[in-house]
Symmetry: C2
Subunit: 212 residues, 2 copies
């Protein structure tokens, strides 16, 4: 058999198996030996493709980030409104719901996405890059959020003076909400209360960004 010894494309197969383990059991469930077992390969095989368990985890993390971004974009696309300012505000809320929804429906992937050490993001907070004056790279979930916020400013729904740092503010709010309800102290609250509280959070943030 030619396919017995050499797997062919092990690396993506390992990442996929690791992602499945992450979905099911969270970051601690991604055990190198189990990943190899499920891929039908002996342990240590992964070391030809990843320097470290951490490196495999990081790959799964970017995969999770991609899915999160996809979920956010999908939810945003379904919104319609003829008033531009209202539209942008509805989009911001929906981005928040998508973020929390992803975290709660895919807790394992969400945890891995933020548990990996090497998951740093390019934050364009320093306005030193003269190129691309508007609409930053839109890479990743952070970029999607940034675009929606830019949209709000452009539509007049939010003062431009508040644009700086607004990404982190929104991100922190929904991230904290998700974490507290996931493996945090609020994890056994009934879903009904959780959803109502999320709307209250979105209300508060929106009022804080838009209002006087």
């Amino acid at each position: 058999m030619s396919s017995s010894y050499h797997h062919g494309n092990l690396r993506p197969a390992l990442v996929l198996a690791a992602a499945e383990l992450a979905r099911a059991k969270g970051p601690d469930g991604v055990v190198l030996r189990e990943v190899a077992r499920q891929t039908g390969v002996s342990h240590n095989a992964a070391y030809r493709h990843f320097a470290d368990r951490e490196e495999l985890l990081a790959e799964v993390a970017t995969l999770a980030m991609d899915r999160l971004e996809a979920a956010m974009l999908a939810r945003i696309a379904g919104i319609e409104c003829d008033q531009p300012d209202l539209l942008s505000r509805l989009r911001l809320r929906e981005v928040g719901r998508a973020y929390v929804g992803f975290a709660l429906s895919e807790p394992g992937l969400f945890e891995v996405a933020f548990a990996a050490q090497t998951a740093h993001v390019d934050v364009p907070d320093c306005p030193e890059s003269p190129a691309s004056p508007e609409s930053s790279d839109s890479s990743g979930p952070y970029g999607v959020l940034g675009d929606v916020l830019d949209e709000m400013v452009a539509a007049g729904a939010m003062p431009a003076a508040r644009r700086d740092g607004a990404d982190v503010v929104c991100w922190a709010a929904v991230h904290g909400f998700a974490v507290l309800h996931l493996h945090g102290p609020l994890s056994d609250l009934p879903a009904e209360i959780r959803d109502v509280t999320l709307e209250a959070l979105l209300d508060t943030v929106e009022r804080g960004l838009v209002g006087a």
Copy 2:
């Protein structure tokens, strides 16, 4: 020697050593065998006092929560203002700064406080308990926050209709901010930007709770 075999009060000593390890290396640094080593006791000794590593971790978690609460109370106490509504708003901001400040200055303890599985909190969201009509138990950091929010309502700084869920909103905002800047994607942002952004977050939340 009478003190050679029996330690005397091992349990608190173990908790203290575990807390020190947690401070230095985070949750994963709290290794049962290392805790025992540093306490001058053989491994397995801890099993007479804790069913599980998790149980020891939980103890450290409550210790961390206590310190967090103490830090919040200390920071609140230092505020003076003769206008009650402004005072309550300043207190809310200071609670947020204390929370983030603790997380960033004691990352290990902060992580342990929320990494432990068994760290659930009594959330008085269900208004079914007829006793103690106002001002809930004020136990833990959550209680301190709740008291300040009650104060805001009493001082007329915040509409009473927004009181429900406001605790979770504030908590989520600062918790997310702390987590993202701690072991999250924003962990290598310069402190200056971080602080400015935190003020922006506090502005937004305050405006969202107070404003029209």
